[in-house]
Subunit: 232 residues, 2 copies
């Protein structure tokens, strides 16, 4: 089993039985997500920025405007921490103390660097599009050189990562099970709504077949993981 080796930085201490370090646990949590929260430090001040990301092997990528303060700062190689979180349910217990959440989360550590080279930058951006929207890259006009110049791609090889997962019903103190208090789980999930065509859409253009997975009501996490699995 391929696994990351935790150090003090990434080891799950609280409720450590919920902590996992293997790729087989961590990668599916990452691949089912679209937004990561990326923490970095400028002059001692912590910042955290939500951003779309993607994964290739043990490396995470994100991108943005070449003028972005975050990306310009990260280009040089700086410590970063990336969190990905799926909220799966609210856990209502019979005491305030035992209320909890069902969730899947990953915390990954590494050093952010600029992706150097126009070819690799373009390849990563194509991967990002096709990872989200199967087959879409081929349906778009080619990127313009100026667009690639205006875009920065950052990579972070994962040095350490941990996953933390909670599932299932509440766990109450034994005497509390006798109370007349409702307890259980209220599931929460990100779902896809009905696509809204651009009001300026050219007449006769239909919704792409490659995006059939984006059906109204589909779970976004499952759909994203399917897209990632298809890319291999």
């Amino acid at each position: 089993m391929n696994a990351f080796t935790p150090t003090d930085r990434s080891r799950v201490k609280r409720l450590h039985e919920r902590g996992k370090y293997d790729e087989a646990t961590i990668f599916p949590i990452l691949d089912a997500a679209f937004i990561a929260h990326i923490a970095y430090v400028i002059d001692g001040q912590p910042f955290v920025t939500p951003t779309a990301f993607w994964r290739e092997g043990r490396t995470l990528y994100w991108h943005g405007s070449a003028a972005s303060r975050m990306l310009r700062f990260q280009e040089a190689g700086v410590p970063a921490c990336v969190a990905v979180t799926h909220l799966d349910g609210l856990v209502l217990a019979r005491s305030g103390f035992h209320h909890s959440l069902n969730y899947r989360s990953v915390m990954a550590f590494g050093t952010a660097h600029l992706v150097v080279g126009a070819a690799e930058e373009a390849r990563q951006l194509d991967l990002f599009i096709d990872r989200l929207y199967p087959g879409r890259r081929a349906e778009l006009r080619p990127n313009e050189t100026q667009e690639l110049k205006a875009t920065t791609v950052i990579r972070m090889e994962i040095e350490e990562a941990s996953a933390k997962i909670r599932t299932g019903p509440p766990k109450d103190d034994e005497p509390d099970y006798a109370l007349d208090c409702w307890a259980g789980v209220i599931p929460v999930a990100q779902v896809v709504g009905e696509a809204i065509a651009d009001p300026l859409l050219k007449a006769g253009v239909s919704f792409p077949k490659g995006l059939a997975g984006y059906a109204p009501g589909a779970r976004f996490d499952a759909l994203l993981k399917d897209c990632a699995d298809k890319l291999g």
Copy 2:
């Protein structure tokens, strides 16, 4: 209009027309969310931790085990950055470059401190329960002293905050509108599923009337904001 005064730390630089600093924009984004991502720095290393949070006035609160590494570190008064993010839609444009997201996000800066005093700690934890689950506190057994001792509540008065919002259809380069390429928005939202009673639920106990807002299919963000608004 009450607003935060941005400095270089919080001013939205990229796409600055999307940036807002007024409470009337920022508070509803916070109140519609359950999870925040909190960044902090230990020995120069950035960390970001997802956690449930709540708001009272200009102060954000979060809590956890008194043994939590994050909370023990934050007790003393350390700089923190809190991000709250709602993904509202995927924006598909006619070029890779103009693909985007619809979202509402807040980045808040301040100093994390321990909430001192058993009475205030208990009051905040009650607020947290009732903010999420209207009327639930009264249905639970009282907190035990030992439970309060085992729990730490952290507060962070917001010193600066900015909101960033994108809505609406893609914005393409003028010539691209003639392309035979589908463009539009695929909405994404967090929704509530059907409640799952604890298998060990006492016979005859029904789902609380106060939680009627947690109806299957309800939007979680709208529901949370309603709960917050009810508390005043």
